[in-house]
């Protein structure tokens, strides 16, 4: 290896390459021109430690730990304001979700991050029957932060719950099994296949 290529390798930012290889839509990160319109357009931006355009800069600066352990990308509500306004049409929302997903996979996501907990509960609920079980999802969310708070939230939401039962938006029968997609076996086979494909991809890229 010539001195020149050695220097290129030394200064090539490996975290950007890692993001490009592993994060959904990560290829786009290099296209950001740091105009800041995404950060300014984010309705929750003031609550983010690092707004999207700062995250893109941090990725390019190789700040791996700071990015992947950050709470910021978990704050994205998918309002798509940033995508609509980005002058370079970066799929910012998708990159945020991609980063969050990657951080979780590596076990670097902040512990007890509420969005992450919600997403996991939602997925576990959905993956069972191919349909969201509203009753079980609601209850599991109420009890997400412990038994005491669960009871308190349940009582607070009692009237809405009863209203939903009355309007047939929710059924008590859902507590026993619950409704499913027509071809449940096919659905689970599909999920299994998808997981296999994902595992194969991960074993290649790490």
């Amino acid at each position: 290896m010539s001195t020149n290529t050695a220097m290129i390798e030394k200064y090539r930012n490996s975290f950007l390459k890692e993001v490009e290889a592993n994060v959904e839509e990560g290829d786009w990160v290099k296209m950001c021109m740091q105009c800041g319109v995404c950060s300014g357009s984010c309705p929750l931006g003031k609550d983010w430690a690092h707004p999207p355009q700062e995250i893109f800069m941090m990725i390019r600066a190789g700040k791996r730990e700071e990015v992947l352990t950050s709470d910021s990308m978990w704050m994205c509500t998918s309002c798509y304001n940033c995508i609509v306004r980005c002058p370079r049409e970066l799929p910012i929302t998708h990159i945020m979700h991609g980063l969050a997903h990657y951080a979780k996979r590596l076990g670097l996501a902040p512990k007890n991050q509420p969005t992450m907990k919600f997403a996991q509960l939602f997925w576990d609920n959905l993956a069972k029957k191919g349909r969201v079980n509203e009753l079980k999802l609601g209850i599991s969310l109420y009890f997400m932060n412990g038994f005491g708070e669960g009871i308190k939230t349940s009582l607070k939401m009692k009237d809405i719950g009863l209203g939903m039962l009355k309007a047939k938006r929710m059924s008590v029968a859902e507590a026993f099994g619950g409704h499913a997609v027509k071809d449940l076996a096919g659905f689970q086979k599909m999920l299994k296949k998808a997981q296999e494909l994902e595992d194969a991809r991960l074993s290649q890229h790490g």
Binding site: M33, C35, V37, S39, G40, G45, P51, Q53, R85, P87
Partner: protein
């Protein structure tokens, strides 16, 4: 009927702005016969609507006066105003142009005395001032208009106003029976100098150009700064006529944006820096200018100008593409919202007036050229052998400032001359 004497050795110049004028004059002064076709009732195009040039801050009226004098002096040059090329058939060395002439209703007897304008009553939006003031139904488009002849708005034809204008004219210059005409003539080469138009600021939805009176475009601000403009050169904001001292410029309003114009319009950074000097000249230490930018593109010799403006303590540079503009309902102040990318500070800044530095786009839509021509994805004309004897000049070819447009137009004149010289050689 209008007669146009032309042969295959004639050069047709389409568009009489600074580029078309330059190309036409250079070719005519090189001894070629030239027909210059201009859509507006006067020559000079958008340059006539500028108050000052950058970087020297001199007045465009100066160069315009020289060019107009050159045009008047040159017998090789035929000027058709209120004229549009509707068709061009043939090939290099042998084209036939079809030109539609709209009636001016005023003939060459006009002395520009203004009696007709005094006589008529109806008023219309003044397009020269982007509708920021009214003009009469009989009008001189601007004080230095060339040809120096009044124009009758077609909307008053058939009304009492038209008769009043005719009665007021002592020189028998008003001809209410003028009709639209179509003329056909030969030419050997064509210089296409149809120029640019400002990007429609209302399309940049988050900036509220169409919702907030105190959000204006850079071309409107230029008119406002001109002592001959709608406010007599006073920087007064549109909503309440209050003196605008705290002024924000938003750069890349439409440019470098895949949702709007793909290209960098090149002139807007320098235009805003220039317009900043209008504000600091007007209010001295009371001036408070903020420039919101992605990066300032003041290349080579413009760097000095940028550094000068930057050294003024009353001018702030904020590195941020503004996310949205809202309005303080109580005082009508526009509020700029965004994040400053140097420090990631969130801001909501109030200003008296906001100027959108709008981009340049070709004035002819890429699907409506009356001739086969190669355009790039931004709609500017590309140089190509398949364009035959048609050559772009100035900002029909790219987003250019006046200096570069004039250089480009001179080059286009040379290419056109080469074509008609070949024709002359072949015809012996």
């Amino acid at each position: 009927m209008t007669e146009v004497v032309a042969t295959n050795e004639t050069i047709l110049v389409v568009g009489g702005g600074i580029s078309g004028m330059t190309a036409a004059l250079e070719a005519a002064e090189a001894g070629k016969k030239v027909v210059l076709v201009e859509k507006r009732p006067y020559l000079g195009g958008r340059v006539t609507q500028l108050y000052k040039y950058f970087p020297k801050l001199c007045f465009p009226t100066c160069g315009l006066e020289i060019n107009q004098r050159r045009a008047k002096m040159n017998p090789n040059l035929t000027i058709l105003t209120m004229a549009e090329v509707t068709n061009l058939a043939g090939e290099a060395g042998a084209y036939t142009a079809t030109v539609k002439l709209s009636p001016r209703y005023v003939n060459d007897n006009c002395t520009a005395c203004g009696a007709c304008a005094d006589a008529v009553e109806a008023e219309f939006d003044d397009e020269y001032n982007y509708g920021m003031k009214k003009r009469k139904g009989a009008y001189l488009p601007h004080v230095m208009a060339h040809p120096a002849q009044y124009v009758l708005d077609p909307a008053i034809i058939g009304s009492d106003d038209a008769e009043k204008a005719k009665a007021a004219c002592k020189y028998d210059a008003i001809d209410l029976d003028m009709q639209e005409e179509e003329v056909n003539f030969s030419c050997g080469a064509v210089i296409w100098a149809t120029g640019w138009q400002p990007y429609d600021a209302a399309k940049i939805q988050p900036y509220g150009y169409d919702r907030f009176a105190n959000v204006i475009s850079s071309v409107e601000f230029e008119r406002m700064s001109d002592p001959k403009g709608p406010t007599g050169g006073k920087l007064l904001r549109p909503s309440d006529g209050k003196e605008a001292k705290n002024i924000a410029f938003i750069q890349c309003a439409g440019s470098r944006d895949r949702n709007h114009l793909l290209h960098c319009s090149r002139i807007c950074c320098m235009a805003s820096l220039k317009q900043t000097t209008y504000v600091t000249d007007a209010w001295d230490d009371d001036a408070d200018v903020s420039i919101y930018y992605i990066d300032i593109r003041a290349i080579d010799r413009f760097e000095d100008f940028y550094q000068n403006v930057k050294s003024n303590k009353n001018v702030k540079f904020i590195k941020s593409k503004v996310a949205s503009v809202t309005e303080n309902k109580e005082n009508g102040n526009p509020v700029l919202n965004g994040v400053d990318t140097e420090g990631y500070n969130r801001y909501a800044n109030e200003h008296d007036l906001v100027v959108l530095a709008v981009g340049m786009q070709p004035s002819v839509d890429q699907d409506s050229f009356p001739v086969d021509i190669v355009v790039n994805r931004e709609g500017f004309i590309e140089q190509s052998d398949s364009n035959g004897g048609v050559f772009a000049a100035g900002s029909a070819s790219d987003a250019l400032d006046v200096n570069r447009a004039v250089q480009h137009a001179t080059g286009a004149a040379l290419r056109a001359i080469q074509v008609v010289n070949r024709v002359a050689g072949a015809e012996g």
